[in-house]
Symmetry: C2
Subunit: 209 residues, 2 copies
DNA sequence: CCAGTATTATGACGGCCGTCATAGGCCGCA
DNA sequence: TGCGGCCTATGACGGCCGTCATAATACTGG
C-alpha cells in the first residue's frame, strides 16, 4: 500500500514490514530487533537501512499501520461473507453479533493453530511505546481508526443507527482486544467465546428491525 | 500483602516491587531496566540482587502479582462504597453497571491526572512476555484470576445469577482492558466512557429483580 | 564488645542492541 | 564497454542491559 501497485511477488520492503508486524505481535516492540526483522523477512540487513532511513521507529510505525489496515480489510471481508451466506440461507441479513463472532473466531482459530504465542500488534505497540516518540503513539491511534471506521460502516449497513454504530464499534474492539489479552494469559480461548456469547444480545438489539 | 503485616513504612523490597509495577505499566517489561527499578524505589541496586535472587523475572512476576491483587482489592472497595451510598440514598442496591462505571472512572481520573502515560501492568506483561519464560505467563494468568474472582463475587452479591457472573466478569475486564488500550492510543478518555455507557444496560439486565 | 548475618555498595563482564560507515555487486543506459 | 544509480553486504562503534563477584557496612543476639 505504500506503492500504488505492489510488485508481483512481495518485495523486500513489504516483507520486512510484514515480518516486523509478526515479531511485534509475538514479542512486543522492545524485544523485537532489527536484525531479527531482516532475518525473518529473508532480507539483507543493509536493506533495512536503505528502505527505512528513519530506523526502527519507521519500521515499527509502518508495521502498526499495516496491521490497522489489515484489520479494517478483514472487517469488510467478514461483512461480505456473512451478507452473502445469510442471504442465500435465510434470505435475510446477518446480525451485528454474527459479525463480532466472525472477528472473534479468526482469533480463536489462530490461537488453536499457533498456540497463544501471538497477539495483536496494535495492542503490543500501544503498550510498549506510548511513552516513547509521539509518532509511535500516533501510529497506534491511526491503526485503531483504520479498524474502527470500516467496522462502524459495517454496523451501519447492518441497520445499526448511525448514532450508535461508532460507540458499538468501540465496544466491540475494546472487548476483542481485552479478550485476546486474557486468552493469551490463560492459554485458553474461553474468554473470546464468553465475550462473544455475552455481547451478542446487546449487539443484535442495536439493529433496528 | 506479601507479609501478613506490612512494616510501618514500606520496606525496600515492597518499594521495589511497586516501582517495577509502575515502570512496567508505563514502558512495558522490556523497556524497564533493573537499575531504573532500583532508582525509582530509592533503593540500592545491590538490594535487587539480595531480595530477588531470581533476577528480573522474579521482580516482574511479583509486580504483576501485586497488580492483580491490587485490582481485586479495588473491586471489593468499589462494591462496598457503592453498596453503602446506594443504601443511604435510595435504600436500594447498586447495579452491576454502576460497578463497572466505578472501575472505569478510576482509569478516567488517572488519565486526566497523569496524561495517558500509564496503562495496566498486567496487560503490559501479557503482551511483552507471553513468549518468554513460562512463569511470566503464569503470573499474568494468576493476576487476571486475582481480579476476576472478586469481581465475580461482587456481581453475585449484586444479584447476578452465579451461572452468569463469571462470564460477565470476563466481559467487564476484557472491555475495560481494551478500552484502556484505545484511550492510550487516542489520548482520550472517550473509549472508556463509551464502553461504560454501552455496557451498562447489558450488565444491569443480568441482575435479577 | 564481639560475632555473624543481613543488607548495601560498586565495579566488571559478556552480550545484544540500533546505528553508522564503507565497500562490493548488480543492472540499465549511453 | 563504461558509467551511475540502486541495492546489498559486512564490520565497527558506543551504549545499555542483566548478572555476577567482591567488598564494605549496619544491625542483632550473645
Amino acid at each position: 500500500m505504500t506503492a500504488p501497485r505492489a510488485p508481483r511477488t512481495h518485495g523486500p520492503r513489504e516483507r520486512m514490514v510484514f515480518a516486523a508486524a509478526q515479531l511485534i505481535r509475538r514479542d512486543g516492540v522492545g524485544a523485537t530487533g532489527m536484525r531479527e526483522i531482516a532475518a525473518r523477512a529473508e532480507a539483507p540487513r543493509g536493506s533495512l537501512q536503505h528502505y527505512f532511513p528513519g530506523g526502527k521507529e519507521q519500521v515499527v510505525n509502518e508495521a502498526v499501520a499495516w496491521a490497522g489496515r489489515y484489520a479494517g480489510r478483514r472487517v469488510d471481508r467478514y461483512l461480505a461473507e456473512l451478507t452473502e451466506s445469510a442471504a442465500r440461507a435465510e434470505g435475510g441479513r446477518p446480525t451485528p453479533g454474527a459479525l463480532f463472532a466472525a472477528m472473534a473466531q479468526q482469533w480463536i482459530d489462530e490461537f488453536e493453530a499457533a498456540g497463544f504465542t501471538t497477539g495483536c500488534p496494535v495492542a503490543a505497540a500501544t503498550v510498549d511505546s506510548t511513552a516513547s516518540t509521539p509518532s509511535a503513539r500516533e501510529a497506534t491511534a491511526a491503526a485503531f481508526t483504520a479498524w474502527t471506521t470500516p467496522l462502524t460502516a459495517a454496523l451501519t449497513s447492518l441497520r445499526v443507527p448511525a448514532t450508535r454504530a461508532p460507540a458499538l464499534a468501540t465496544l466491540m474492539i475494546s472487548a476483542l482486544e481485552g479478550a485476546i489479552l486474557m486468552c493469551r494469559a490463560h492459554q485458553s480461548t474461553a474468554p473470546l467465546t464468553t465475550v462473544t456469547t455475552e455481547l451478542a444480545p446487546l449487539l443484535d438489539a442495536a439493529a433496528v428491525s
